[in-house]
Amino acid sequence: MTGLRSWLARRLLLGAAQTVAVVLLVFALTEALPGDAAVALAGDQPDPARIAAIREAMDLDRPAYERLLDWAAGLLHGDLGTSLVSGRPVGSYVSDGFGPTLLLAGLTLLLLVPLGVGLGVLAARHAGRRTDRAISSVALGVYAVPEFALGTLLVTAFALRLGWFPPTAVGYGTDLLAHPATLVLPVLVLLSRPVCSLTRLVRAGMIDALASPYVAQARRYGVSGVRVRYAHALPNAVAPAAQHLARTVDWLLCGVIVVEGLFVIPGLGTVLLNAVAERDMPVVQGLAVVFGLITVVLNTGADLVAHRFAPRAEVTA
């Protein structure tokens, strides 16, 4: 197992480096946007004297690298910094927004795996027949609809027309679990595209695996169809799917921004969107760290899963 352990160490080190790279990149990109926090705050009253004063009050008149170094020094003590705009600690931004976003993403992932794998296996079992064609074409069709469009469609149909679910999460605060009805439409929107891609991946993997020599061999030995399918073929089909699943998490982030806006759920996506518009660098950087870490951890986890299910497949760091 030492091989795995050193692989894991390398993987985590690389992950840390990736997070640093993400933060640097986000910092550089946000700096490169036109205007800074002072300009964004001045809005339609861009009085030059006022902008200069805001800039001074926010310490924006110092060079960018100095501000970045200061912030990084604070990070070593676990301090994410303070917002330029409100003066409140970035940590409170993250902790306030984390709950709703985690809930949305967690629920989505929880439903995504059984749904995606189930549909994929079902389609593969009936490969080329009517069930497969129905699943595949619906998956392709839904995949082509962007979140905001699907969201608007679902709200109009199921919330405003039929009145089955509330149209937004307004008035429920952060305690969304206590009102599960509010979560149905947002999670459906978030699920829609990943389910389709996962289904297609699992289906393709299953068909490949079922056609492979080792499955044929297992069949010749008289192993039952169910066992062949779920004990031999499925693990090989799941390996690529697990890695895809981790990538879906990055994907979920984009979806979360749209869904949070559409359903008025005050999570991290909303915080990020506002912070970029306000050029609130410490908040943007703080969120970059959080998202970077999450992505690294999940991808490492996914690689571990792939390693476990299909050790033959080359798992590179």
Binding site: P34, D47, T168
Partner: protein, 528 residues
């Protein structure tokens, strides 16, 4: 009509309406507005029935997200203004024709030189039971004007010499001004000039104001819950509770209103309004004259340093087409002047129409045939990019090639202030005097048309030194005639501000432009 100026100024509310009604005959546009608005506040355009006490109203606004604050001096968004208005008061605020009316002030009176104003406060108390005093007023204004700070209202309070200003007694402040300022009440009504108790500092946890509502809870970027202030000096509100909800997405605001999750949705798009106006599920309220829509030409650089080119551009615009195309017809056309419907608006000038033939001729005279111009725009305000596209096509018919350049919406206003030659522009409601002083004087801080003329500055100073309203109106008219003939703002329209309310909501004012006193006036709203 009282002719004694001292008497008139002691009763500013009375005198203003009297004045406007009388001089309406002398071509002042505010006549119609003041004429139909008999009651001084909250006149609703519909038969809403009798006000009823009780209930909770939830209002969805676009807001600043997690970084918002309850500090009334910090705000710059509509959501901030609506919240500040519920918790705090200003000394004065604007009526529908943008004339300052007394609020916490009960009267004001200038000296002969118009550079010292005595302002009397009404009997009012803060939420902690302490009376509002002259010291609180001076503390608030000094906080706003603090050179170390960057509050938005600082520029508006610039005319006041706060070192020399003092409290004469508990309820009288004497403001010493740096120069004669006939329109000083406008300063008292300035955006963000709220009165806080002396020494106040912690706003987000325990805001103490004198406003119609008290704070229950505040979570930034989510909601602000308020309850009725039974001791409010202007009469206790009807509502038991008021909750502000932040929803930045326009469709989310509409959907939550349609789904019965909120009763008031601020800032809807003209398309939404059209879709739901007839359906009857919700009520659409259009507040006229809320947003000037314009193109700003930089008058200090080619090609717009030639006034013939500017006039040609005035003549290129088909205002009706712009209004219908960019704003779905929600508003009215403009006449290249700011403030249609406001006090002092020069509405005697002929409405400008598209005249491509004359535009071509003027361009030829100016040697600007085959003119190529870049029009800066951005999705920063509703209708901007659409209007830019329409104007490009209109200009093409006069032989002018316009290239539309889309900029970042977060930094747009700063980007267009000094660079470029032509840009999309808009402005919220403010008195014509403020528009002139903020944008059209040599020393103006946001002079986007680079309109810098010593004689124009002198006219402004003359108006500010003129005590008599009619004489001052005459000076403003001269200034506006000049702008109409050769100014840098091609004002093509005035957008309605669109609000949606549940059918159970009564008492929503239908005339007040956004940001004036009766806009978002939740102390006058009730639930049926």
């Amino acid at each position: 009509m009282h002719d004694d100026p001292a008497h008139r100024l002691r009763h500013p509310g009375l005198h203003r309406r009297g004045f406007l009604a009388a001089s309406g005959a002398a071509s002042l546009g505010a006549l119609a507005l003041t004429g139909c608005g008999g009651s001084p506040s909250g006149a609703s355009g519909h038969g809403d029935g009798k006000p009823k006490r009780g209930g909770r109203l939830r209002a969805a606004f676009a807001g600043g997200g997690a970084s918002e604050s309850l500090d009334p001096h910090l705000g710059s968004l509509f959501a901030d203004a609506a919240r500040a208005k519920a918790l705090y008061d200003k000394l004065a605020d604007y009526d529908a024709s943008l004339v300052a009316r007394p609020r916490l002030a009960s009267a004001w009176e200038p000296n002969a030189g118009l550079d010292r104003w005595k302002v009397t406060l009404r009997e009012a108390t803060f939420h902690d039971g302490k009376p509002v005093t002259a010291d609180d007023v001076l503390f608030s204004y000094r906080r706003i004007a603090d050179p170390e700070k960057t509050f938005r209202a600082k520029a508006s309070l610039e005319p006041i010499d706060l070192k020399a200003s003092r409290a004469l007694d508990r309820r009288t402040v004497e403001f010493v001004l740096k120069r004669p300022t006939a329109e000083f009440p406008n300063v008292l009504a300035a955006f963000g000039a709220y009165i806080i108790p002396e020494g106040a500092g912690d706003f987000d946890d325990k805001p103490v104001g004198s406003g119609p509502f008290r704070l229950v809870s505040f979570s930034p970027g989510r909601s602000t819950v308020l309850r009725r202030n039974d001791d409010y000096w202007d009469g206790a509100p009807y509502l038991d509770r008021l909750e502000f909800i932040v929803a930045n997405d326009e469709s989310a605001r509409v959907n939550s209103l349609l789904g019965g999750q909120v009763e008031y949705a601020h800032e809807l798009s003209p398309t939404t309004a059209r879709a739901h106006e007839k359906a009857g599920q919700i009520e659409i309220v259009r507040l006229p004259g809320s947003a000037m829509q314009a193109f700003a030409m930089k008058t200090d650089r080619p090609p717009f340093d030639d006034k013939r080119v500017r006039e040609a551009f005035f003549l290129i615009a088909d205002r009706k087409e712009l209004l219908n195309g960019a704003l779905s017809g929600a508003g009215e056309i403009g006449n290249d002047l700011f403030g249609k419907g406001y006090a002092y608006y020069a509405d005697g000038l002929p409405q400008r129409e598209q005249d491509l033939g004359r535009a071509r001729k003027l361009l030829k005279q100016a040697g600007a045939e085959d003119l190529r111009v870049t029009l800066d725009t951005s999705a920063v305000a509703a209708g901007f990019t659409e209007a830019a596209g329409i104007f490009r096509d209109q200009a093409a018919k006069a032989g002018v090639t316009i290239r539309v350049r889309n900029g970042s919406k977060d930094s747009y206003w700063n980007d267009i202030l000094d660079s470029g030659t032509l840009c999309s522009y808009r402005s919220g409601a403010m008195p014509i005097e403020s528009h002139l002083s903020q944008r059209l004087l040599t020393g103006s801080t946001t002079n986007a048309t680079k309109w810098q003329h010593k004689d124009f500055d002198a006219l402004y100073q003359q108006a500010q030194s003129t005590r008599d309203d009619k004489d001052r109106a005459a000076v403003y008219e001269r200034m506006q005639r000049r702008l109409y003939a050769e100014g840098g703002f091609l004002v093509w329209g005035f957008a309605d501000w669109i609000i949606g309310t549940a059918r159970t909501v009564g008492g929503v004012d239908h005339r007040a432009p956004a940001n004036t006193l009766d806009w978002a006036r939740f102390d006058k709203v009730w639930l049926r």
